[in-house]
Each structure stands twice: as C-alpha cells, then as structure tokens.
C-alpha cells in the first residue's frame, strides 16, 4: 500500500511517500490513519485533527469509511487551495 502526503502533512510526517503493510484489521481509511499515527510522533501530530485532513484512495476523494487494501494508493492532504 502506497501512502502519499502533501502540503504540511509532508513536512510533519517527514515523508512525501511511504510503502506500508498494515495488519489485517486495517480495512478502511479511518483504521489506516489510526495505524499510521503509531509510526512516529510526527505522524501522530500530522494526523491528530481529522477535520483538517482530506483523503484520496486511488486518486479519488474518499471518506473515512472508504475501504483500503493492499496495492491501493492512499493520499492524505489538507483541504485544497488551487485556482
């Protein structure tokens, strides 16, 4: 499973991209985020406030209950500010 971080989530987690293999009980976005928080204090801080985070699963916006599985590309980022 590939995790991508953008904007300030990249700086806080210290990674733009990481390959992870979460355990079987991680089945949705919420579970994945809870599990990612354990990886480092930076991850815990970056992912503390879920209201400030948006998610894409395989390049489509997704909610916290969206399923995740091996091989997925999951992106975590703040609300977008393009245009």
């Amino acid at each position: 499973m590939k995790i991508l971080y953008f904007a300030w989530l990249k700086a806080k987690t210290g990674a733009g991209e990481e390959e992870v293999n979460p355990p079987d009980h991680v089945t949705d976005v919420q579970g994945l985020i809870d599990w990612l928080k354990e990886r480092s204090p930076g991850h815990a801080q970056a992912l503390a406030d879920l209201s400030a985070i948006r998610v894409a699963v395989n390049q489509n916006y997704a909610g916290l209950d969206h399923p995740v599985k091996a091989g997925d590309e999951i992106a975590l980022f703040p609300p977008v500010t393009g245009g």
Partner: protein
Amino acid sequence: MIRVQREEFDVGAEVARLTRGNHLIGGVACFVGIVRETAGGEAINAMTLEHYPGMTEAKLAEIEAEAGRRWPLEASLIIHRHGRLEPGEQIVLVITASAHRQAAFEACEFLVDWLKTKAPFWKLEETASGPRWVEAERQDDKAAAKWAGQGRDKAAE
C-alpha cells in the same frame, strides 16, 4: 483539453488555438488567476504550488467533461501551473467557447469555482515571517456549492 505545467501560458495564443476553424463559436469566456502581492494584509514574495501528479490531471479532465455535459460547449481548456510563482504571474487559465455567451460564462465560472475547491493543489506562500500554507476559504465552498443542479437547462432558458 487540460494541461498541468510549470511554464507560463499565453492567453491570446490559447484562445486562438482553441477557437480556430470552429465557426459555430460565438462567445468565448476566459478566466486568468494571478498571484497577488498581499494576502490577509501581509506581503507575499512568492508562492509555490504543490500538486498531486496523476490525480490532478484526472480530476481536471473529469470536471472539464462535466462542464461539457452541463453546457453546450464547442471547446474548453484548463491550464493550471505548479511550482514557484511570483506576484503578477499567471497561475490558472480557463477558457470556454460556445455558440452563445451565457453558456460560455456559466461554464467558465463553474470550472473556476470547482478548481478552487476540488483540484488537488496546495499553495505555500513566502512571507517576511516565513513560509505558510494557504488555508482553504469557506466562501470558496459556498461558491462551488451553488452549481449543484445548474447547467444545460438553465443556460438554455
């Protein structure tokens, strides 16, 4: 057509290329977004636009197709730049062309409102007090929300 690029763009050349040879087009609406020198009262030296390669292009293509379903467009173009830009530089270009002006205007506004709220770009501003990530504005969500159910029916009135 959509393009995500570092390079500057030329509005006139893009309008000419998009409309050339299609004489059904009667009205072309464009929007150009430009880097401002201040934000929230503080001076901006530059901003860097980060994006999500792959998803950005896919999402821009999706929304452009959606505009084409909602309004009778003859042609459309979205160019969004990424990388470091200074005040006065162009960030984004949206062009919509239709037989009549109302469809062109509405589709152009729709696309710009959408870009502000859904295109995966993030702006990092360089200020005297250091870099800071721009926060999303609630009024942009309001602007985007007004398009629910708008489009071809309304433009055909």
